[in-house]
Each structure stands twice: as structure tokens, then as C-alpha cells.
Amino acid sequence: MSSEPTPPLILGKQTDESLTQSLLAFVWDKPADGWKKLMGVLTLFVLMFVASLVALLYKGTGVWGNNSPVGWGFDIINFVWWIGIGHAGTLISAVLLLFQQKWRTSINRAAEAMTLFAVVCALIYPTFHTGRPWFDWWMLPYPSTLGIGPQFKSPLLWDVFAVSTYGTISLLFWYVGLIPDLAALRDHTKNRVTATIYGIFALGWRGSGKHWNHWKVGYLLLAGLSTPLVLSVHSVVSFDFAVSHLPGWHATIFPPYFVAGAVFSGFAMVVTLMVPARKFMKLEHVITIRHLENMCKVMLVTGLIVSYGYGMEHFMAWYSGSEDEFTLFFETRARGPYAPWYWLMWFCNLGIPQTFWFKRMRTSVVWMWIAAAFINLGMWLERFVIIVISLHRDFLPANWSMYYPTVIDVMMFLGTWGIFGSAFALFLKVLPAVAISEIKELNHEINHHAHHGEQGHSIEGNVAPAGGH
């Protein structure tokens, strides 16, 4: 750790009242012009999504660029990418909660919301990438009178369970965390309609000690439930590839490497979103440079794990002696027609995070935002490399063919951005982006320690992310 004093988690002297005011201000204020413009643009993207979906349903999967041999293209790349992004939320909320990392409180709400919206975007793809989406329910183990059920050997089925469980728990966790804040919203509004709506969702929260007690237990239990899910979801997603026998897919390192990659991309997305949001919503006092720096440290660590994964894949390709594997890693990827994308992936995922060894880069808001954008791109390319490059040249050279996405592919991907972005913008507008109750608790703890002349050191000492050092 550097010799400089650790920057604080909450800036300035804050009271419960000042925190409530400042953190709810964005909800109560009239929508800013910037927000409206953003929503306008995002709505166009959503409409683009709708148009591409209509084309897909009306014409068939062929409006995408998928082909034989590349049976999966943008659909599964984007699915895995969005699911990966969805990981930071749960990791920040649950795992850091269990490890009592106090610095999580300012960012967990937004990260959880991001998780949910990312999962929604992710789910669009497996739902509609099937040739006949209207029969998707055949993947569910319902009591069929035909006596035929889903096939439990297929990783796609595991996906159904893993992702739906993850989505459900994430939603519950987010919602339970929101309850005290929903009550605060209810209590602070002067409008009867909004008071009723917030009131319904606040489930009659009165802030009694009993409520807090039950809430705490429930919240912790959900945190405990979500923690293994962080590991399981992306492990299961990685089985979609690892269980097959395609060179480039068939690798035992996939589960941990996918999980690390998910956390990597998830944190990058949190940074991508929170850096501008914090500025627009004037949340610099609760989302401090210290939060951002910690996230950079997590990105550095997970980036290194991911790169280790790449290295191991190459090592195994050589060590296994398999001609097909060797060709894929050392010729097709490195020198094939998609090689520029492959090398760009290395640059984004291994190169860019190395700047975070330097405190100046870690604390530069502008640089970290740029770096996070690169990492988002890099992690998308990672999925492209795994899926498309592996599929486009497999065993028999006669089958080797190129894959090119279509306009609809691109429209749909940008459309999911629209869904994600507009949902996030709406969330910022109608719900507190920062968990007010938790911030107040943290503020209380800091003040309490300060009162005892400890300068909050014990809390400060807790904040160092375990993985970063």
C-alpha cells in the first residue's frame, strides 16, 4: 500500500438528513435535459431492438450471420458477454458484504441493478437464438404427457437452471436491499400517487428495530445464497463450451477462467457506468476516488487471472500433443483471418489493465473510464475468439468457412444496449442509485469511531480488497 493516507469512503461531514437529501435529489428533481436526451437516444435503440426482433421472428434465424460451421455467432457471444457483465453486481453485493468490505456500500445498488439489466439482456439471446423460440419451454422439466423431458446431460439445460436461479436471486437480493430506501422514498414524497406506489413496494416498512433485525438476517441469507451463484453461473456458462470436444472449447480451465473474466468485465462495466453517473448525479461524496481505485485493483487482478487462463490454454494446446488444438491456438488464432481481433483481445485484456499497477492511472477517472471501455471490448472479443474462431476452422478443412455478422446482428446487439441503458437510466430516475440506509449506517459507524477518537481506522483497515494485495 502506498504511504499516502487512504482516502475516505464518505467525503465531508454528513448527517442522515443531508445524506437522504443528497442521495434522493436525483429522484425528486425534474428530469435534467441531459437525462431526457439520453433517454431519447436509448429509446431509439430499444426500437431498433424491436425491429430486429420482428425480423428475426418473422424470417428466421437466417437474418443473423450464423452458418455452418459457425452455428453460434453474435447470439452466444453477446449472451456470454452480458452474463459476464452481470457478475460484478452480485460479487460486489454479496461476496464483499460477507467479507465486510465496507467500501462496497456506495456502489452495490447500482451494480446490482446493472446485474439485473444485464441478465435481462443476456436472456434475450438464448431465448431467441433457437430456431423455434416458441418451443423453448421444452427445455423446462414440466410433467409432459408425451413422456419426454429435457435432457439433463446437455449444458444448455444447466444454463437454463443456472441463469434463471441467478436472475431470481439477484432480483430478490436487490429488492430486499431496496426496501428501507423505498420506505424513505415513500416518506419523502409529497405526491400521493408516488407515495402509494413506493408504499406498495416498501411492504409496510416502518424502520422498527424488529424490521431492521429481520431485514439484516434476510439480507445476509440472500448474500450467502448469491455467493456460490457468482461462481456457479459462469462456470455453467463455460460448460457450454468445455463439455463439447471442439478445439478451443474443450478445456478444463474454463470454469475458473470464465468466472474471473466475468468479474473482470463486470467491474469494467460498473466503472463505465458509474464514472459518468457519479458526475451527473453529484455523488462524488459517496462514490469516492477510493471506490474507483479499488475497482481498478480488482480489474488488474482479474485481468491477470484471465490472461493466465489464455496462457494455460496455449500451454495445454502444446502439451496435449493434439494437432487440432495446436493448429487452432498457434495458427488459426494467431495467424488466421481473425488474427487482428485476437491480438486486440490480448491488448485489451492483458495490456490495458497493466496500467493499474500505477496509482496515478488507478486514480485517474478519465483513464480508468477509457481503460474500462477497452476491457469491455476485450471481453467481448474474448467470447468472439472462443466462439467464432474455434468454430470457423475445426477438424475438416473442407468445412472451414468465415463468419460475418449481418446488419440485424448489429442492430440487435445495439438494441440490447438500448434496453440496458434505458433500464439503467430509468432506475437512476426512480430509485436511489446508492443504498441510502447502508450509507447512513456506514456514516454512523465512521462518525461513531471518530467520536471515539479512532479516526475510523478500523473501518479504513477493512476496506483493502483482499485480492489486490
Binding site: G131, R132, S154, V243, P397, S401
Partner: protein
């Protein structure tokens, strides 16, 4: 719904053959025009019932307000779009969107027609004629509609085989673009009766002797047509018949006339030939007349014959199917082949020692000629020289003379009376006719030849000449280019709809019987001639029986027997003769063309273009280039480098990506055509295939219009719709095949559709070949050990331990363990199997743009790899220059579902849509499939095919009739794959069960196996130790594809064996005792 409809029981004379249970007389007319064979028409959906006007003829339903394809996304109107927008979103949610199969009610016959058992197929023998040469076929019919064409197993020149061209006739018959009416030039339609009156009026004119009447006909060997022509000549003594076909055999006939003094046709017996020299003869190209040759040649290539195994030398300009099978191949420009033939003749000496005009040989060519001469002399009577249709009469004459001198006439070749009656089939006759028309000497022209305006010569303005005729009539299947210039177009009956006869290449007379009443009440050529003979409208059967039963006094029972067999007893009469070398040498020497030479060639898919509107043929990958839907100008790597500075390096991986557009100019004609680098092409020459660049408005597939249909193309197609370029525009009557041309580069580029982007095998052990030496000394078998699973019959733990941890399923206790074997030594890559599979399994045609996106639907494909001769090695610089592509070896490998015992596709399916049968077949359940495509991703052979669009959704009623009812027609979003023709297995099982026996080896064939001209495919029961497939699996040449994956495939490949001449093989250092993968 009219269930009281009277069943049609018109008695025909079509007799069932094979072991079908059916009475002797069955109806040939079961599918009436306006009613389905099931007794009515059914709505597919409520929407359709509202849309459909009950009075619309179901076979004409594409003739609605808009042409087919116009209701696609490209042309969605505002209201439709809004409807769709709302409906798709709403319906997607409640699970009833888009392409669910329609609910249909099936009603059986109210009264069963005699002889039809619903669900049982009947087979009828008939004949298909192309350019005058007929093939005996069996047509499979279900409930009165023909659904598949197969070779006639009883006819010796076919032996049950069929090529793509024959198979494609089925789809042509059901083609919705077919002409349906008699139409005059002003567009008015004419009733058939009115047309009959027109002819009769002409005939009854006073003093009509037909002096101004000409018939332009296709060459024919049909006794019926011959007798009708005689009848016409009796009625109109001064009328003349002119023959035309774009691929004329006149040079062959002229040569025969010169050296034998008689016009004769050769009949080859390749089974006796130990050495074959092909002078530009693509005798392995799969179409009717070649079928017997291909099988006989393949039988003589069995490596078990050891040193008696036949050897093949091929001299040709561009790689052909035959060239790809050669042990030694010499690239020569087409016009140089004559010089080569003269060089061989000269070296052979004897009566031919005085041959002049021989080619100046390079040292390499000299060694080739030495080897050829050595082999020919050594084998003598067992040698065979064959000459291709493009070569001049002098080369044919030399070929006959060499065969004669070697003594092979009588062993490997015999001569019979000519198959076709017309001897003048070349350009001369057509030119004379055009002159007559232009001078006004002729005022009535009746055309029954196939589309002469399109397929004619650039220097004969036939269209202009025809329009000068006062009366011109054209009998055709389509309102094509020729139809556009004649006065009256008459819609023809298809070969499968009409009675007739024809001659096969062995001279036997085939009977052509209809499978169905003419769908559009067309006339056959025989009926048209009968009209002009003044006999009025006569039924085809009456004409046929009039000739064979009444005139030739064939007994009625013998006629029935001939119908049943498909041919009359007896063969073409042999003629004992020897060629005169002196006369052969008397023919003038044609010097080789100087400068860049353009070669025209029969197309590997659509031949001369007459079947260009058949989607199966358009989409059939060319055996060598793997191009579909287009032709391109072939050029050798060296010439491309020298002339256009095209870098080979950029083409190595994806040759299909960018084809430069070049202009080809011959005389005053210029065409713009994409340039295609063709490995193994002769330097200093370019090759262009005939049959493309169609301009007929009605043939929507041939002219490329169908490619606009978004239903089977990407909605973002590249807009260029014409298919290929018209090579006939460059063809002159004086030089129909080889000519001087100028080729200029343009700045344009075009992406061609190609089913295989990669040329080489990347050092992988995929399609293997070895030499006879390695085969006989056992080193091949040793080298293959690691590529073989334990023998097919050996399922003990011990044997399988190395390849899998899991004990494999024991299939030894089931009755049948289905397996297949493909002999690469026999597979010529002719592609008959692909079309057979498409026809049998209802595989849709997807279009050019879909193939650009690699979405072909073939369940069975032929992978073609170029390689280098064993021992040859190239430096990196040479490879970048394309040196290794100059003399490549080439191998074709048929790949279909390998029916892996441990199938990687099965365990990844989330809904159990692909599962294993107890007999070890990897079954696909289409209606369970939701289309995740994971199975395809996990299939190492990539043989699964996905319905990216609703390819079968826009079938017209007639196209629906072409579908095999035993096989599901797949909807959009469903994965499909080869099933080893499970429907055939099940029918065989039903037959076997009825007799309480097991399916006997040989009684069950898959569609690909059945069609394969060289019998390269074996299929059967691996649990039967005596079956042929077991023997093939245990052959020492057998290996598993991708053995290292442990998939335990049920399909095995037999290594191809080359039989090089020691004199030429010595140039290459012999490789180690390993099968060589191509590099």
C-alpha cells in the same frame, strides 16, 4: 370437401416392376389437375382459406397477382408491416408465432383406385433422352405422382445407376415455371384444338408438298420419331428435317465414316481395359451414356487386382472428373491434344509411323508420352484410347486407328450402328437452315430442338432468321429464348408425361412411358409430328403401339414385358470392322491455336443449359471447383500470375472471396466473367462452361430471378441476379470448342458462391491415398493401423480400451448394425449421390446467397482436396507463386453423417431431439428440435444442416408433389441430417417381417449408394459377417475419419490407391510406408 369424388381409374399400361405388390394394370392417371389425390383440397390455415379462391388451379397458384417471392420481407407493404409488427410481438409471447406446421386433415380415398395401396411405392421403367442418347430409368411413384428417379437395375448399360442430370428431370417436370399454354407471339393464348386446326389447314392446302417447311429437331435415336419423320415426309415430301444439338457428336461420326467407311458409334468395355488413355474425354462425368463406362472402369481399378489394376492417363486442358482420377495427367490446351495424339501415334509406329503434325514435346511431356506408349504397347488388346466430343474428326480417327492397331477393337471397344439417326448435328446444318430462312426459301419452321436460339452459334443469327419465317412453331417445356422469337409456342409434355421410345448407348431400344397425365396438357414431340403427318391429335400410346405392336408385329404380351423392363430385348447390332490408319492419317492436321486459347466445356452441373431451371443442378457443387449457381473463367495459376499479376498467396485460404471480373473477347463478341484460378489448368488457356447466362423471362431459376426471393436468400443479397455468363455468345460455327480469345482485366470484382473455401488438407489425415506399391507390400495397412478402430465385428473390452474410458455400447446382440463404407478409390466426385440424396430426402435448394453464407443444406457433401504428388516438395516462395497448384493431385471424399456410436451431437441437445436407436443409428427427431444448433457445433464432421429460413415454405403445389412422402419436409428452425435413409431401412424391415426373414444384404440401398455410378458406397449390416459392408470395413485400406476423437463412426473410408507407371513414378522419391495426406 368433396369426399364423394369418384376415384380416377383410367386404365393405363404402366406396369409395376420390382417386388411391388400390385396388379398388372394400374392407373397412370391418379393426380387430376384440380383435386389432390386424397379427394379434395385442404386449407393449410384459416388465412389461406380466406386467401385462396377455390377456383384457382393448385398447380397454377404461383400465377397469382404477384410473382412468387414478392410477399417476402423485401417487399413488405406498410399495412403488412404494421400487422406483422403487432402480430409477431403479440404472438411471440403466447407461443404461436411464425412457422408452426399447419394443421391438416388427411382423408383417405373414398374408393381405392385399383392397384394402389396407399403408402406403397410403385416403380415404373421409362427412358430419359438428352441430345439423342437415352438412359433407362426407374421412376418411383407414390399415389400416382412420380417422386424419385433411379437407374434401371435391369438395363445393363445403367445397372441401376443414375447421374444428376437424370435425377433432375423429376424436379423439371414439377417446375412451376413450365409453360402451361399454347401462346402466339402477340401474347394471345390458343386452344389446343385451334392449333390442331391450324396444322390441318396447312396440310390440306392444295398442292402442299412441304417445300417451304422445315423441322428443326433434336438428334434422336427413337424408332418412333424416325417412323413419324418418315410419315411426315410422306405427307410433305419436300419438307426437310434439320438436327441441332449444342454438344454435337458429329466429329466422332465423321471420323468413323472416314476410317471405317461407315457411321458407327463405339461401345467401350472399360472392365477389360488395363490401360486407358483419355484424349480430352471426360468419360467419368456422371450422365446417362457414361454410367456403364464409369462402373466398368471402377471395377477394373480394384487394387486387389494388383499389377492387373487398370491405369489411367488423361490429357486435357482443365481438370475434369476424369482428370481427377488419373494416375498421370498431362495439362495441354485443347487444340494441342491433336498434336499429342499424333505424337503418341507416331511413337507407336507401325502403320502410324508416318504420322505428321505431332506436338513439339517438352522433356517432361516426352517422358509422359514414353510411358503412355510403353503401357499401350505392353497391354495391346487390353489398352483403350478414348477421345472426347470436343476433339476434331482427325483425333477421333487417330484414336480409332490406335485402338485398331493395338488390337483392342473387339476387347475394350466394339462398334455398333449409330445410336442417333441424324448424322449432321453440327453447325453446318444449322447455318444452311438459317440461310434458307433468310432467303425466304422456307416459310414454315417447326422447332422441337431444345432452345436453339439460346444454344446456337454467335455467327448464325438464328433469332433473326426465325422471325423471317411466316409461320414458326416451337414445342418447348418453357417459354424460353426461342419461344420469344417464334410465332406460336406450344407447351410440351415432359418426358415423364409422355409415351415414346429411345435408344440407349448400347443400342438397345428403351420404352418411355408416362408416370402421370401431362400436368399442363402439353404435347409430346411424337404427337406434334403425328399432327404434321396429318394424323390429327393421337394419343401417345396409340402411336407407340402403332409402331411396335402393329407395324413391327411385337406381341402384345412382349410389349407389356418391354414396358415392365423398360426396354426391348436385344442390343445394337455390332459391326466387325477395323480402322484404316492410312485414312486416319489422311485427315488434315489442325495446328494448335497460337496465343491465349479459350476452351468451352460442357458444364459439370447444367451441361448445355437445357436443365438450367432445375434448382438441384444449379446448386450442385461443381465436382472440381465446388462453384454453384454460376460459371466462371478458369485460368491456370501461372497464366493468372503472368497475365494479370494475381498473387496466389492471397487465394490460398479463401479462393471464393474475390473473383476479378475480366472481359473475354472472341471476334466481335465480348462477355464479362469472373476469373477463377483453377489448379491443374493448362497454361496459356482459359476455360468457360456452357449453359449459363440464360435470358429467358419464364425460367426464373435459370435467369437468376428466383435469387431475389428472400425466402431462400439473405434479405441483404448483393442484388446481381443473372446467373453466370453466356458462353454460347462466344461460340462460332467454325470453332465451337477452342478459339483464340483476348482476356482483359476490369476493375470489377464479384464474389462467387462456392461450397468449399479451402483447397488443401492442411497436413491432416482426412482423405488418404497411397500407391499400389504400398498397398501390395502391406505398408499401407501398417500405416493405417492408428486410424482404425477395432474391427467392426470386434466389440470386446480389450480391443476398445485404448480409445475410450467408457465401455462402448454392445451392438452385437441386435439384428442390424447399420454401417457404410466409401471407397475413395472408386469415388470420382461425380456428385450423383448429392442429387440422389436431395431427391430422396426432400432437401431444399437454398440459393446462391445462402451458400455464400455457408448455409447449404446437403446432407451429403463431396469434399475436394488438392494436393501435391508424393515426394514433390516446394519451397515457400514456390508455394506463394502457386507452383504447387500447377500439377496438383486431387481427391474427393464423400462426407455424410458418420452415425458415430458415441455421437457428440447427442449429449448436447437440451430437448432430446437427437438420440441413438438400438441399431446404432443417430436419429434426428425433427418435430422435437428447437434449433439450438449446439449439435452442429459439436459435430466434428459438420454434417448437420440447419433451416435458417423457411426454405420449404414457398413451395408451389407442384413442387409439393415432388416431395417424398416418406420423409418429413422440414420447417424453419430445425436441424436436419443424414439418416442413412432410415425410411428405406424401415420399408425393407416391413417387407422382411412379412416374410418372417431378415433384411438380406443387397436388398436395401441408401439413395446415394443406389445412384453412385462407380458403386463407391457400400451400406448394410455390420452384424452380418458376410455382408459387403463388413468386408469393406475389414478391408486393409479402411480407416475411420477423425479416429483421434473416439467417435466410433459407422462410416469407413477405403484409401485411394494410385497406380503410377514406374517410369513416371521414379521422378518422385517414394514416400515412407504411410498413407500420404495431401499437402
Amino acid at each position: 370437401m368433396n369426399t364423394n369424388q369418384k376415384s380416377e381409374t383410367t386404365v393405363g399400361f404402366a406396369l409395376p416392376v420390382l417386388n411391388q405388390v400390385a396388379p398388372a394394370v394400374i392407373p397412370s392417371k391418379v393426380a387430376p389437375k384440380t383435386e389432390s389425390p386424397f379427394g379434395g383440397e385442404y386449407w393449410l390455415s384459416v388465412g389461406e382459406s380466406l386467401r385462396k379462391n377455390a377456383s384457382i388451379d393448385p398447380l397454377n397458384d404461383d400465377e397469382g397477382e404477384f410473382p412468387p417471392g414478392s410477399t417476402s420481407l423485401d417487399a413488405v407493404g406498410r399495412r403488412d408491416f404494421t400487422k406483422l409488427l403487432g402480430a409477431s410481438m403479440a404472438l411471440a409471447g403466447v407461443g404461436m408465432s411464425c412457422s408452426r406446421p399447419p394443421t391438416e386433415v388427411m382423408v383417405p380415398y373414398h374408393k381405392n383406385p385399383d392397384g394402389v395401396t396407399v403408402g406403397n411405392a410403385l416403380h415404373y421403367a421409362t427412358a430419359l433422352t438428352y441430345g439423342g442418347y437415352a438412359t433407362s430409368v426407374l421412376v418411383k411413384a407414390r399415389e400416382g405422382r412420380p417422386i424419385k428417379i433411379e437407374g434401371n437395375p435391369d438395363h445393363p448399360s445403367v445397372a441401376g445407376k443414375a447421374g444428376p442430370l437424370e435425377l433432375a428431370h423429376l424436379l423439371q417436370m414439377y417446375d412451376p415455371n413450365r409453360a402451361k399454354l399454347i401462346r402466339e407471339r402477340n401474347g394471345r393464348t390458343m386452344a389446343k384444338k385451334a392449333f390442331v386446326d391450324v396444322v390441318n389447314a396447312r396440310l390440306s392446302a392444295p398442292n402442299e408438298r412441304g417445300a417451304k417447311v422445315r423441322f428443326l429437331v433434336e438428334p434422336s435415336g427413337s424408332p418412333l420419331l424416325a417412323s413419324l419423320r418418315e410419315e411426315v415426309k410422306t405427307k410433305l415430301p419436300e419438307a426437310k428435317f434439320v438436327s441441332f444439338t449444342p454438344i454435337s457428336q458429329q466429329a466422332r461420326h465423321d471420323a468413323s465414316k472416314t476410317v471405317f467407311g461407315l457411321t458407327l458409334d463405339p461401345v467401350y468395355d472399360f472392365s477389360k481395359a488395363k490401360v486407358v488413355l483419355s484424349l480430352d474425354d471426360n468419360f467419368l462425368m456422371a450422365w446417362g451414356p457414361n454410367l456403364a463406362n464409369a462402373l466398368a472402369w471402377a471395377n477394373a481399378r480394384d487394387p486387389k487386382l494388383k499389377e492387373q489394376m487398370s491405369r489411367l492417363y488423361v490429357v486435357e486442358p482443365a481438370l475434369s472428373t476424369t482428370g481427377s482420377m488419373a494416375d498421370h495427367r498431362l495439362r495441354l490446351r485443347g487444340s494441342q491434344v491433336e498434336g499429342f495424339a499424333r505424337a503418341v501415334a507416331k511413337r507407336l509406329g507401325g502403320a502410324l509411323a508416318n504420322t505428321s503434325g505431332d506436338l513439339q514435346l517438352t522433356p517432361e511431356q516426352t517422358r509422359f508420352v514414353d510411358a503412355v506408349v510403353d503401357d499401350l504397347q505392353k497391354r495391346g488388346r487390353e489398352a483403350l484410347v478414348v477421345v472426347g466430343e470436343r476433339q476434331s474428326a482427325a483425333v477421333h480417327a487417330l484414336g480409332y486407328a490406335i485402338n485398331s492397331m493395338l488390337g483392342s477393337i473387339g476387347t475394350t471397344v466394339r462398334f455398333i450402328q449409330p445410336i442417333i439417326d441424324d448424322t449432321a448435328t453440327g453447325a453446318g446444318a444449322l447455318k444452311a437452315l438459317a440461310d434458307e430462312l433468310n432467303s425466304g426459301a422456307v416459310d414454315t419452321l417447326i422447332i422441337t430442338a431444345k432452345n436453339p436460339v439460346y444454344a446456337g452459334y454467335a455467327d448464325i443469327d438464328l433469332a433473326g432468321a426465325i422471325s423471317k419465317a411466316k409461320h414458326s412453331f416451337y414445342l418447348g417445356l418453357f417459354e424460353d429464348e426461342t419461344a420469344g422469337v417464334v410465332g406460336t409456342f406450344i407447351n410440351a409434355a415432359h418426358a415423364l408425361e409422355s409415351w415414346g421410345d429411345a435408344k440407349a448407348t448400347d443400342g438397345s431400344i428403351l420404352i418411355q412411358q408416362p408416370l402421370i397425365e401431362p400436368l399442363y396438357a402439353g404435347l409430346s414431340e411424337a404427337q406434334l409430328l403425328a399432327l404434321w403427318a396429318g394424323r390429327g391429335e393421337v394419343k401417345g400410346l396409340e402411336l407407340l403401339k402403332g409402331l411396335h405392336v402393329k407395324k413391327n408385329t411385337l406381341a402384345e404380351s412382349d410389349f407389356s414385358k418391354a414396358l415392365q423392363l423398360g426396354f426391348l430385348a436385344g442390343k445394337g447390332e455390332g459391326v466387325e470392322t477395323l480402322a484404316s490408319a492410312e485414312r486416319a492419317l489422311g485427315l488434315p492436321v489442325t495446328p494448335a491455336i497460337e496465343g491465349l486459347e479459350l476452351q468451352l466445356v460442357r458444364d459439370g452441373k447444367v451441361h448445355d443449359g437445357a436443365l438450367g431451371n432445375v434448382g438441384w443442378l444449379q446448386e450442385l457443387p461443381d465436382p472440381i471447383t465446388k462453384l454453384v449457381w454460376d460459371n466462371a473463367l478458369m485460368i491456370s495459376p501461372k497464366t493468372a500470375k503472368e497475365k494479370f499479376n494475381i498473387q496466389m498467396k492471397s487465394l490460398m485460404d479463401a479462393p471464393a472471396q474475390e473473383a476479378h471480373l475480366v472481359t473475354v473477347t472472341v471476334g466481335s463478341a465480348t462477355v464479362t466473367v469472373p476469373l477463377w484460378i483453377a489448379p491443374g489448368h493448362a497454361d496459356g488457356a482459359v476455360t468457360l462452361a456452357l449453359g449459363y447466362g440464360r435470358r429467358s423471362a419464364s425460367e426464373k431459376i435459370a435467369n437468376g430471378e428466383s435469387l431475389n426471393s428472400a425466402a431462400w436468400a439473405s434479405p441483404f443479397g448483393n442484388g446481381r441476379t443473372s446467373l453466370g455468363v453466356d458462353a454460347y455468345a462466344l461460340r462460332t460455327s467454325s470453332s465451337p470448342w477452342f478459339m483464340t480469345a483476348t482476356v482483359e482485366m476490369t476493375s470489377g470484382k464479384q464474389q462467387l458462391s462456392c461450397t468449399q473455401e479451402h483447397w488443401d488438407m492442411h497436413d491432416r489425415k482426412v482423405a488418404l491415398e497411397s500407391t499400389l506399391g504400398h498397398f501390395t507390400d502391406g505398408s499401407l495397412a501398417h500405416g493405417l493401423e492408428e486410424l482404425r478402430a477395432p474391427l467392426a465385428t470386434d466389440t470386446t473390452q480389450q480391443a476398445t480400451k485404448q480409445v475410450t474410458l467408457q465401455a462402448p455400447v454392445d451392438y452385437s446382440n441386435v439384428d442390424y448394425k447399420w454401417g457404410m463404407a466409401v471407397d475413395l478409390n472408386r469415388c470420382t466426385g461425380c456428385s450423383a449421390c448429392i442429387t440422389a440424396c436431395q431427391s430422396e430426402n426432400n432437401i431444399p435448394v437454398v440459393g446462391r446467397d445462402a451458400i455464400k453464407r455457408n448455409r447449404e443444406m446437403f446432407w451429403l457433401r463431396l469434399d475436394r482436396y488438392f494436393g501435391s504428388a508424393p515426394g514433390s516438395s516446394f519451397s515457400k516462395a514456390e508455394i506463394e507463386e502457386g507452383k504447387h497448384l500447377e500439377e496438383p493431385t486431387i481427391i474427393t471424399q464423400m462426407v455424410t453423417c458418420q452415425q458415430c456410436e458415441t455421437a457428440p451431437c447427442e449429449y448436447v441437445c437440451p430437448v432430446n431431439a437427437t438420440v441413438h436407436s438400438e441399431e446404432g443409428l443417430n436419429d434426428m427427431i425433427y418435430n422435437r428440435c428447437i434449433g439450438t444448433r449446439y449439435c452442429s457445433n459439436n459435430c466434428p464432421y459438420k454434417v448437420r444442416r440447419f433451416n435458417y429460413f423457411n426454405y420449404t415454405g414457398d413451395y408451389t403445389s407442384s413442387q409439393k408433389l415432388a416431395q417424398n412422402p416418406d420423409v418429413t419436409v422440414r420447417a424453419r428452425g430445425v436441424m436436419e441430417k443424414c439418416t442413412f435413409c432410415v425410411q428405406r431401412i424401415e420399408s425393407a424391415r416391413i417387407v422382411a417381417r412379412r416374410t418372417d426373414s431378415k433384411i438380406q444384404d443387397g436388398t436395401l440401398q441408401t439413395a446415394c449408394q443406389q445412384a453412385c455410378p462407380t458403386s463407391a458406397i457400400e451400406f448394410g449390416n455390420l452384424n452380418d459377417p458376410n455382408s459387403r459392408v463388413t468386408a469393406a470395413h475389414n478391408d486393409e485400406r479402411a480407416y475411420n475419419l477423425l479416429q483421434q476423437l473416439g467417435t466410433r463412426p459407422r462410416n469407413r473410408y477405403l484409401t485411394r490407391i494410385r497406380n503410377p507407371h514406374p517410369m513416371l513414378a521414379a521422378a518422385h522419391a517414394p514416400a515412407a510406408g504411410h498413407p500420404e495426406a495431401h499437402e
